[in-house]
């Protein structure tokens, strides 16, 4: 019963967020002319992309009833790595983010699984470690530039002159991973691990494989976000960026298993930020 109530709660949250979002858009498009300008819409999307990608990844970890606190740090670290390789690799450097992100995610999973440390604590530790590594990598330089045009174009070419390409990548990945979560064996098993670990084990499933994979996906998507961020900004710094909370909030409010609700919540949280900036 708890779960059913929970789902209804989640639906209510998504619907009320959608309502608030529409209300906010109507109000501010009247009150602040800059809000619905082309530039305003682009800014919202650029902020939205990493939050959405991280939220989708976090959802897989939440589905397995674990927690990943390190995605914010993976986002920073992968953007640093991507910027580091951009001058040599050119556009191909965009793949550095997802690749290293998946490895960091896998490492989270291994610390959690082989170290038998609760995931909340394990990823709290790796969160600090990844952030620290990022700082070490950029030591001596305040900012790593990656200004090559062909590299940057992956993120900030425009479709229909208002949609940055990175938004398109984010939506494709979101739809794909929602599909994976809801329609494949993988998604079902990850969710089953969260529903009843013992039952999943006794049904003959190699539980560890799936738990590691859930963390790897979380890291992978944080890495995609990090790579795109480096391309969008034309470089990266190791400064902490407050993205963990909105991403985890979007994942938690939208709930498990994943639905399109996560997109609505992520847009709401992003618009919310933008509105606060405008008020200032």
């Amino acid at each position: 019963m708890l779960k059913l109530g929970g789902r209804r709660l989640q639906e209510r949250l998504i619907v009320s967020n959608l309502g608030l979002l529409i209300g906010m858009i109507v109000l501010f498009s009247v009150a602040s002319p800059g809000f619905l300008s082309v530039r305003g819409i682009i800014v919202i999307q650029l902020t939205l992309v990493p939050i959405l990608l991280l939220a989708v990844g976090e959802t897989f970890v939440l589905m397995a009833r674990s927690f990943d606190l390190s995605i914010g740090s993976i986002y920073i670290l992968t953007s640093v790595f991507t910027a580091l390789f951009a001058s040599q690799l050119g556009p191909v450097a965009i793949l550095v983010g997802p690749a290293t992100g998946a490895i960091f995610g896998l490492m989270n999973g291994m610390v959690f699984k082989f170290g038998r440390i609760p995931s909340f604590i394990a990823t709290l530790a790796t969160m600090i470690i990844y952030q620290g590594v990022a700082q070490i990598v950029v030591t001596g330089q305040y900012y790593l530039f990656a200004t090559e045009e062909s590299f940057r174009a992956i993120a900030i070419s425009f479709v229909a002159s208002v949609i940055p390409l990175m938004m398109v990548w984010a939506m494709i990945l979101t739809v794909f991973f929602i599909f994976v979560a809801l329609k494949t064996k993988f998604g079902r098993v990850v969710y089953s691990i969260g529903a009843n670990y013992e039952a999943t084990r006794f049904s003959g499933i190699n539980v560890m494989k799936y738990q590691l994979a859930a963390f790897a996906i979380s890291g992978f998507l944080a890495g995609v976000a990090g790579g795109l961020a480096a391309a969008q900004q034309g470089g990266a710094s190791a400064l902490p960026y407050p993205i963990l909370l909105p991403a985890v909030a979007a994942a938690t409010i939208a709930g498990t298993p994943i639905t399109g609700g996560v997109v609505i919540i992520a847009i709401y949280l992003t618009t919310d930020r933008r509105v606060v900036q405008l008020i200032k």
């Binding site: 064996k185 993988f186 009843n196 049904s203």
Partner: protein, 510 residues
């Protein structure tokens, strides 16, 4: 004994009617409980006995009928109200809180405070007094999770009788309703709990719901049978004794069907077992194709641990496990892939309780419901539906709705969902650990029929059970275990000729 349960009526319920929509759960049901007696209530799952109990404790409002408590009209508003009148219920799953200490649990929901601060010492002392009074072998500072299942059960009964013992209750008479008090217990633990019930019934009247007819006959003074929401009758066991078979007939409304099991041991060996774990078990045996081999042993005999070792959830020290001549890998996943399954009566560790029946059946049967595209293993919802429908029909799960959430099913049906999962998987060997614990007689019969059919088609089973009747009905060979060793093996001929009583004697003599 008989005369001690006098004529004083503690509680009477007359003409209770309860409808849920068009469904009549209780149709003019009567029940009366005398002071100081144990009243057994039996019936199949869904016969209405749980609803009746809920009416008695105020968790359900009856549509008609009246209840009298010690001669006065009584209509409890809710379980709390019933409790303040001296009626409380101990639920099947015991709503135990593992992380609390015994005294915290006993006082849960009625904590004693001084101002706003918990009066722990007072509660601890009162609990110690209560435990001593009832001779329960634990301390008020023990954690619930550290107690044996039998002691846990006793503690939850103690919690229900708290008011009586400490004198906080206005009325010092007390009625305790026990719902399947022994479902997850071993036979030794059962007798410990029942000894306590016998001891306490001088002060407390008990209503006990159980599917274990034999033990209920042994402990009850009278027994009320309910079938399809109607009274079948109430038997006074002191006037006339009743056998489990007769009771079975009253509950089902028909004779017990014979289960036909092919008893001749097969020649093809499918599994050879030689397993040892220091201080737990050290056994070797083999399993033939289409054979059902039984294991009997009390807690501590290592028999349940053996079951867990067979599926790979318990590490062993040394040994070989060969299926069709091939050694088996160590993990559960590897063993399931090699055609071994494991099912226990404890469905908490087997079911995703918040999931639908369909999804629970799918959980081991991916090869039957997946389509592959671009290397993605996608779930074909049509195939998934078909699989669920096919096996729900075979196992007769009620309601026959694949989307029903498992939580809403009765205990017996939950059990059948797990069986359906494994029957669909068709493992060559299925290890069953007390598969019918807490399952009613009708469902049990169906369960046996399914196992017998499956064995006849060449599947093999290892049946670990505390239920001798179950073992002698199904098994072609029965191994008796004690202190981790097989101390005696009875072949099919012996099982056919010996009655349950003879086997009980053999076990006693071990």
């Amino acid at each position: 004994m008989a005369s001690s349960s006098g004529e004083v009526l503690e509680l009477t319920a007359e003409g209770i009617v309860k409808r849920f929509g068009d469904f009549v759960a209780l149709d003019n049901v009567n029940l009366d409980l005398r002071a100081g007696e144990v009243l057994g209530v039996v019936g199949q799952n869904g016969s209405g006995k749980s609803t009746l109990m809920k009416v008695l404790i105020g968790a359900q409002k009856p549509d008609a009928g009246r209840i009298q408590l010690r001669g006065r009209p009584f209509s409890p508003k809710n379980p709390h109200d019933a409790e303040s009148h001296g009626i409380s219920m101990v639920y099947q799953d015991g709503a135990l809180v593992p992380d609390l200490k015994v005294y915290q649990y006993v006082y849960l929901g009625r904590e004693v405070t001084r101002g706003t601060i918990l009066h722990s010492r007072g509660m601890r002392d009162k609990t110690s007094e209560l435990l001593e009074n009832l001779k329960i072998p634990c301390s008020s500072d023990d954690f619930i999770r550290d107690l044996s299942p039998a002691t846990q059960r006793m503690v939850s009964i103690a919690k229900a009788s708290l008011g009586m013992i400490t004198g906080e209750n206005k009325s010092d008479e007390r009625i305790i309703i026990l719902d399947e008090p022994t479902a997850q217990l071993s036979s030794t633990e059962r007798s410990i709990v029942f000894d306590k019930v016998r001891e306490w019934k001088k002060r407390v009247s008990f209503v006990i719901i159980s599917h274990l007819l034999q033990e209920l006959i042994e402990i009850s003074d009278r027994m009320t049978v309910i079938r399809d929401g109607k009274n079948v009758g109430t038997l006074d066991l002191h006037e006339k004794s009743v056998s489990a078979a007769e009771l079975h007939k009253l509950i089902m409304g028909r004779e017990r069907r014979d289960i036909v099991v092919r008893r001749n041991a097969s020649l093809t060996k499918v599994l050879e077992v030689e397993l040892a774990k220091q201080g737990v078990f050290d056994v070797s045996f083999s399993l033939g194709e289409g054979e059902i081999v039984g294991f009997y042993g009390t807690i501590g005999s290592g028999v349940r641990e053996l079951g867990m070792a067979l599926i790979g959830s318990l590490r062993i020290d040394r040994g070989v496990l060969k299926k069709g001549g091939k050694s088996l890998g160590g993990s559960i996943a590897a063993r399931v892939r090699m055609g071994i399954g494991y099912l226990t009566g404890d469905h908490a560790s087997q079911l995703n309780i918040e999931w639908s029946v369909q999804r629970n059946i799918s959980l081991s049967n991916w090869d039957k419901i997946l389509t592959r595209f671009l290397k993605l293993a996608m779930i074909d919802s049509r195939k998934e539906r078909q699989l669920a429908e096919e096996y729900m029909k075979l196992t007769n799960i009620a309601p026959p709705n694949p989307d029903a959430i498992c939580m809403s099913l009765s205990g017996g049906n939950k059990q059948k969902v797990i069986l359906a999962r494994w029957l669909a998987k068709e493992p060559d060997i299925l290890v069953l650990d007390n598969p019918t614990a807490g399952v009613d007689v009708g469902t049990r019969e169906e369960f046996y029929r399914l196992l017998a059919n499956s064995a006849a088609s060449g599947k093999s089973f290892i049946l670990i059970s505390e239920d001798l009747d179950e073992l002698s009905t199904l098994c072609s060979k029965l191994h008796l275990m004690k202190d981790g060793k097989i101390v005696r093996s009875l072949a099919s001929a012996a099982l056919e000729n010996l009655g349950d009583e003879d086997i009980r004697q053999i076990i006693k003599g071990l």
